[in-house]
Amino acid sequence: MYKYRYFAVFLYVLIFIGSIHFFQIQLSNPIIEDHGRLLPVKMKAIKSSDDEDELRKIIREAKKNADPISISGMQHSQGGQTLYPNGILLDMKSYNNILKLDKEKKLITVQSGVTWADIQSYINPYGLALKVSQSQNIFTVGGSLSVNVHGRDIAYTSLIESVESFRLLNAEGNIMHVSRQENPALFQLVIGGYGLFGVILDVTLQLTDDELYQIRTTSLTFDEYSAYFKTKVLQGEAVKMHLARISVAPESFLTEMYTTDYYMADDQGQLELNSTLKRESLIAIPKFFLGLSRLNGWGKNLLWKTQEAYNHRIDDSYISRNNVMRSESTFMEYENVNKTEVLQEYFVPIDQFTSYIDDLRKTLEQEENFNLLNITVRYVKKNEEAVMSYAKEDMFGLVMLINQGSSKESIDESGRIIRKMIDITLDHDGSYYLPYYHFPTEVQLEEAYPRTEEFFNMKKEYDPDGRFKNLFYEEYHK
């Protein structure tokens, strides 16, 4: 046996080299998916840097090699807004320093890879809070700007309202200052611009004071909701934030609702006691109930009853503004291989809400296999500053969580139902949110966003070579 040992070593070294060679090839062609895992895309390379000059170099290099670039943050967009075949993925997560806090003027300047959670930890000790952020705080500032998010605050609803200025690295690799005074056209294009105009470098955001709120919960039916909102929330001066849920359980499908209002507490002296930022608590229980509700109608009924009961239990409790803006999300992490969960958001004018829900119910009752898990409702005030603005009037935004298969048939089936829902939304003068899978047709896009053509024309003007590309652009531009 000992005779063969050098031969064995020789053979082994050959295979070793071969394996490393293939491994290298594999590494240089990463397959990237966004969080919904419906769109795996092979990209040329992933690049990232915490240095401005490096980022400029990456852009210039890409220009020289004619490589398209997709810019990414946390990649929770579901329509390939951060992906492009054979492009360079510019991952901004490591560009994440907090640069400056002006406590007097309540302004903070941060690099775009910073998450909202990072900002909250930084400003909480100074008694400051964000004006606008999503309910979850795991996203990057740059990503949130690119989709122009909205949150629970009823005075400042779209993120664009709280943006003072930012710097943009354009397709030529040059840096531009953008605000309502400097390059105002870009201000309106980049926010809600899905990374098509350049790389957002650093952003100056307006802050506000951290405040102590008290929670008020109410159960009502869907046809009472618009009136409740107008009289008790908008005119009730003390209410600062608002969130509602409408049932997707078979027993109360699109009829029962409950609302959670956060109003200014009388005794602000208690703020200090409640200002510690909460961490994600034990998630086993909500995860378990959400798991049951994925299975069948019984699970959905159970989840709805439990949620409503829990909600009333938190009535009158105190919570700081910063803590309202850091809601839990890990219990929603979903790890099934063959299925995934997609989001949709539809905006509908306040006065149309009742008739809209009636129409939506009629349609969805015919779709027995459509696994709708959750709908939350938030308020967005009319704001047409961004070119791609969804808030054409004072509206309610309905966020839907849908469980679906990842096979082609399941995707097609979801697409059919989602296009139907969008038609209903558009019939009620509504619009829909763009960061999701490209189910909507071009016609639907243009109806929901009347300035779509202008948006894509401006894209060509600012980036004639098409340096910044993604699947959203690929799907809808002409």
Partner: protein
């Protein structure tokens, strides 16, 4: 079988397998999507081992322990070169089946060598002594690799462990003096 050489061999393959096993979950995490897939990957490993023990047992008496130890070391050296290339969950399943088979070969041979070598009267002391050295090398490997993962990629750990297995195979193939 030279007992001293056997202990050195056991030490080095113990080191190589301790390098990958705790961290191997990190790779599964990159490839798999759910806990049930984790379960299947490990379950297949155990199942293959269970099925192959009777055959391996007979083989050990027929061909001798040394052949089996050599096939284990070289087999592991090769399979670890394939691991970094796996990107689908079924690749991992197949690799797990092969690893289950090899694992069974090793476990069985380790015991047969001991059984054939130690004296009945002092078996406790001898096997205890044997375990000291194999455990020490495993401990060094696990702690050391923890630091290595911070500096190297998980892929390079597999290559490193593969080389250690290859050396062990080479070493045990030496002519008996």
């Amino acid at each position: 079988m030279n007992y001293r050489r056997f202990i050195i061999y056991q030490g080095s393959i113990g080191m190589a397998s301790s390098m990958i096993f705790p961290f191997y979950v990190l790779l599964l995490k990159n490839v798999g999507h759910s806990y049930s897939q984790f379960g299947w990957a490990y379950g297949l490993f155990a199942l293959t081992a269970a099925v192959s023990y009777p055959i391996i047992g007979k083989l050990a008496d027929k061909t001798g322990d040394k052949v089996l130890l050599i096939s284990y070391a070289w087999g592991m050296a090769l399979i670890l070169l394939i691991f970094p290339l796996a990107f689908e969950i079924w690749h991992v399943y197949i690799l797990q089946v092969v690893m289950g088979l090899l694992g069974a070969v090793q476990k069985n041979s380790e015991k047969t060598v001991l059984a054939r070598t130690v004296q009945k009267e002092t078996a406790g002391k001898e096997i205890g002594h044997y375990h000291i050295w194999t455990s020490v090398s495993a401990a060094i490997a696990i702690i050391g690799t923890g630091y290595l993962v911070d500096f190297l990629t998980i892929g390079s750990i597999f290559y490193l462990a593969s080389a250690v297995f290859a050396w062990s195979g080479f070493y045990i193939m030496k002519r008996e003096e």
